[in-house]
Symmetry: C2
Subunit: 435 residues, 2 copies
């Protein structure tokens, strides 16, 4: 990459730092054995030791542009970095629009496996690099960046119309109600904006949030953030069901992108909200940070664990019988005359027949180390998308009061955001709001 | 897995929960496309969407037994969960020995991709499962578990001979000296015992620490722990050099398992320490949690960043010229008459010619979310192994006083442990200490 060995004083122009250029080098160093790939769902072959920090498919690539934002019905990637941002108190409407434009430009580049910015460093003595560099040599790794706008973008916490956008506030974009048992912490709750970065390589997801945060400097700053290391939901029939940290399969009954009815459950339709037609093709994102009381859980008998979920632990079959994907039989009675699926079982209360509501889940396991008592700070970072937040609210109302699982979990963080439709070719996320 | 659908009251015996049994199911669910693998170094092919939460090679497997513990010269896996434990104040010498036996038995099973314990649940109403279950369906994923003993196992902080082991304390196993600039936090420092769990799937590494922590209940508890998501060192010539979160390649000059001199730099030799011959075949582990001041760093010009490291950012070549693996020319002078590699450059001060010391590094990038100021809580979890801790101490003394990098990093956690030799067939880690 370099022709000579300048000392710093002699440096006035540096060669390009380029992920594209370096990919070849990394591939060669790892014996170049990268097979297949492709942006779609399904199986891809990857060189396990390539790229520096990942055994994932580093070539998977999802376009940033489209009628919907990527990262929602996209097959769930393996890693998450989620960040909530607050706009600075001095930020103007123009600042917000310019931030969304800048974020979109950077997201478009990173989703393609390119550096943020021009990549050119005209004067290394004057300017920091546009890109922070830790993804050099790594492929796009299935990166998706999904941007959301919180209620406080439209109506400030003091009630003011801070950006002149209140008339366009979606009527359903309101702070979530308080649910029974909520133990929310202010530092893990809310935020003007959010970014969900998902990728098959954690370094690529972290690189995305870091560079988007850097771009926001002076306009917005991170309020809270969360890393997730293992998906707990499938959004595609091509994916096997993964396990949460309670050891149970999670998301068996999730909406799948391949099902024809999913689109109308997930995407806001034109006419849903006359004041907010800019949101058509978008969705509502609800996030909940759910701490699991892991040590309590681990001391429970298998029978109690299965009663709580309403499924068996190994196969994930409902306790009413069958295999993982067998429908629940909520009326089934066991040999002792009790319901096979307990009245308080999580699966019963979450089941759509309880409320008629469906959501697309996209959760991740998290471990934040341990707390001051030496207990594992671990759980599920729950993310759900839906055409209306009422879908989540109905399910959570059903769970919050009676779910047997509540003895072993605490909701400690929460947020809601409206997710605009995808960027048009050359356009930006949020453009329809400002049109 | 189940023949009928019992309700809880009717359950007196449950079928085995078995990772081995479930692997077939997971493979089938993911279209069964798992190619190659093998425990050795190098490239392996993996089904990117298989196993629930990983694109890694789920079949890679390293034996727990051997003359040295695995996880040291083993090619560095992609993920880390590291935990420091304190023995309970009531723990006896027998408790310590039994804990090491129990940990070894569980580690042997998990390294083979098996459940902890018997897997049989004779009475689901009375006993919790032996294994917590979140690795069901996942392969061994290259898991290694490496166990260490801290100075306080031999001499308690009050100076007492708590377990009657003081006469066997390795003379070099002493708390590390204080280094210039240390900003150590008590809650991230020290510990009687440590476990380093590395795997290519984070869920497998987390599962290991969680189950070993559970086994320790009543005898030891976690003092602090750390997750790492991307290796920053290579220990094998088969691995490409990865990048740290400052965007630079890290570990270019690391010891590699394939080099003949590595063994004598890493493993304690018989006769090194007459009082501690039980440690022959073992090593010393030093861990340092190094927080990076990411936002400061990101505002620096490329030239300053490269001056600090003494290497160029793209290729990783020394500023004295060449390519990544070209030897440093510390005497090289740039066009303006200054040293091409700055006198305070990290690479100059860390270079073995400075002190003659070499260490085997096994570090990982970490991001713990953000701090109260919204700054990224991120950095490098540094792990080094050596035949003597003096090797690390010499290098760190050289760095602590003068390294240009010190403006952008803070050492906030620290620990030292003696790592016993590997378990003999059917034996346990630490057996030589108690013999």
């Amino acid at each position: 990459m370099r022709d000579e060995a300048p000392d710093v004083a002699g440096t006035s122009e540096r060669t390009r730092l380029s992920r594209r250029g370096l990919l070849g080098l990394a591939g060669a160093g790892a014996a170049g054995l990268v097979v297949g790939g492709g942006a779609g769902a399904g199986i891809a072959l990857a060189a396990a030791s390539a790229g520096g920090a990942s055994g994932a498919d580093t070539n998977a690539r999802y376009p940033f542009e489209g009628s919907n934002q990527a990262g929602i019905t996209t097959p769930v990637q393996d890693r998450l970095h989620f960040a909530s941002f607050d706009l600075s108190s001095s930020a103007t409407r123009d600042d917000l629009a310019s931030l969304l434009k800048d974020w979109s430009a950077a997201a478009r580049a990173m989703a393609a496996g390119k550096d943020v910015g021009s990549g050119a460093v005209p004067d290394a003595l004057t300017y920091p690099p546009d890109d922070t560099g830790e993804a050099l040599g790594l492929g796009p790794s299935g990166l998706t960046i999904t941007i959301g706008l919180g209620p406080t973008v439209f109506t400030a916490t003091d009630g003011s119309d801070r950006f002149g956008l209140r008339a366009k506030q979606p009527k359903l974009l309101q702070p979530l109600p308080r649910f029974s048992g909520d133990a929310l912490q202010a530092g893990l709750t809310g935020g003007d904006l959010c970014i969900q970065a998902c990728a098959d390589d954690p370094q690529v997801a972290v690189h995305a949030i870091r560079n988007l945060s850097r771009i926001a400097f002076g306009r917005a700053s991170i309020r809270w953030s969360q890393l997730g290391f293992g998906r707990t939901s499938s959004t595609s029939t091509s994916q096997v069901t993964a396990r949460n940290l309670m050891g149970f399969k999670d998301g068996t009954a999730n909406l799948k992108a391949e099902e024809p009815s999913t689109a109308e459950s997930v995407w806001v339709q034109a006419g849903d909200d006359a004041a907010a037609d800019w949101l058509a093709g978008g969705s509502y994102l609800v996030a909940r940070k759910i701490r699991m009381l892991i040590e309590d859980w681990d001391h429970q008998q298998l029978g109690e664990q299965e009663r709580v979920f309403g499924r068996d632990k190994g196969e994930g079959a409902p306790l009413s019988g069958g295999t993982e994907f067998t429908a629940l039989d909520l009326d089934s009675v066991g040999p002792a005359g009790k319901p096979a699926i307990d009245r308080a079982a999580h699966v019963r209360l979450a089941h759509s027949s309880t409320s008629g509501a469906v959501i697309l889940r996209r959760g991740f396991n998290f471990v934040d180390g341990n707390d001051d008592l030496g207990l594992l700070s671990a759980g599920l970072f729950f993310i759900a998308y839906g055409r209306s937040p009422e879908q989540f609210i109905a399910i959570q109302r059903s769970l919050a009061g009676h779910d047997a699982l509540n003895e072993y979990i605490k909701h400690i963080g929460s947020g809601i955001w409206a997710v605009p439709p995808g960027a048009s070719p050359g356009g930006w996320v949020g453009e329809t709001l400002f049109a």
